[in-house]
């Protein structure tokens, strides 16, 4: 059952409940549903953690997820992963669950609305300077905007804005386009082929969640690690100077 019409690009106009000035679009409902699922499952599992030989299967499940997220982050950022696991892991789990639930009939993926993806990309947009200032200090972080020259300042700012826009439109476009493709296929070949496309949609949803998380981690790592590289370069140059 598709409750978003084929001619509606975004599910935001779909009001599911309204009372006076308060209206609840379907996007907000399913966003909170996904958040509630994530929070309740993690709360129930982490309520009685054990570290001896007998470990419950749900704890195993969460440990596998957290360990693999941490491993992926450590592959990108060599300096350690613990600071970034809360943000990146939350982004990944939220996007992944809200994409994967799209096989449930009647569910509308919150990520198929551009407002949700814009909000997620704005989180990354704020997190990049936050982690950059936290690891390098305000002066060194701001100095990166004027590298190698003061002329490059507008280009750095433009790059920050355009990559936020790219994160937004990429996730929104992938999920929305897939819903529309299924909607069109339902009117052309109604019986079996949409099921195959739904299976492909699971793959696309997980890959897009992975890519969103990886790209935000790459952005954060480039903001925190740039200072390290310049310092290494400076020491290299000074050593060469001593050698000559």
């Amino acid at each position: 059952m598709e409750i978003v019409g084929i001619d509606q690009i975004s599910p935001d106009q779909l009001i599911i409940w309204s009372w006076g000035y308060i209206t609840i679009p379907v996007t907000i409902l399913y966003t909170w549903l996904v958040m509630a699922m994530l929070v309740t499952v993690s709360w129930f599992v982490t309520r009685n953690l054990s570290s001896d030989t007998h470990v419950s299967r749900w704890q195993h499940f969460l440990e596998v997820i957290v360990t693999s997220i941490r491993g992926e982050i450590r592959e990108i950022n060599k300096k350690g992963a613990d600071d970034y696991v809360p943000l990146i892991g939350t982004l990944f789990l939220f996007i992944c669950l809200s994409n994967v639930l799209a096989i449930v009939p009647g569910y509308v993926a919150p990520t198929s609305s551009i407002t949700t993806t814009a909000a997620l990309a704005l989180c990354v947009f704020v997190a990049v300077p936050y982690y950059g200032i936290l690891s390098n200090g305000v002066f060194h972080y701001l100095r990166e905007y004027f590298q190698p020259n003061i002329i490059f300042f507008p280009f750095h700012v433009m790059g920050e804005i355009s990559r936020t826009l790219a994160l937004t439109v990429r996730l929104f476009g992938n999920i929305m386009s897939h819903e529309k493709v299924i909607g069109i296929l339902l009117s052309v070949t109604p019986l079996l082929f949409p099921v195959v496309m739904q299976t492909l949609g699971l793959l696309i949803g997980v890959i897009q969640a992975y890519i969103f998380a990886i790209l935000s981690m790459v952005y954060i790592a480039s903001a925190t690690g740039a200072h390290e590289e310049t310092r290494k370069h400076v020491t290299l140059v000074s050593e060469e100077g001593v050698g000559a």
Binding site: I9, E75, V169, R170, F172, G173, N174, S177, I207, I211
Partner: protein, 91 residues
């Protein structure tokens, strides 16, 4: 031909052309990227994990160009601002 049908015709043709032309570049570059990645994996199977990760991220970057074209053509067909403007003006 009145204004409304002119807008409709122009936006439908532009939507088709956007998809058609906009898919050429990403298709060619994705093919090339996958070809290079397969060659690299065949040469160094041990590096498969990092190669695959980089390939996926790169493919997503390339694919987003085609996705931009798709979003533009969807806006042209389903949420055209000029269309609603002319419909409102024409009554």
């Amino acid at each position: 031909m009145d204004k409304i049908s002119l807008v409709a015709m122009a936006s439908i043709i532009a939507a088709g052309l956007t998809m058609a032309i906009g898919a050429i570049g990403p298709a060619l570059s994705m093919g090339q990227a996958i070809q290079q990645a397969l060659a690299a994996i065949a040469q160094q199977p041990d590096e498969r994990n990092s190669l695959t990760r980089t390939l996926f991220v790169g493919l997503a970057m390339i694919e987003s160009i085609a996705i931009y074209c798709f979003v533009i053509s969807m806006i042209l067909v389903f949420a055209n601002p000029f269309w609603s403007h002319f419909v409102k003006a024409g009554g």
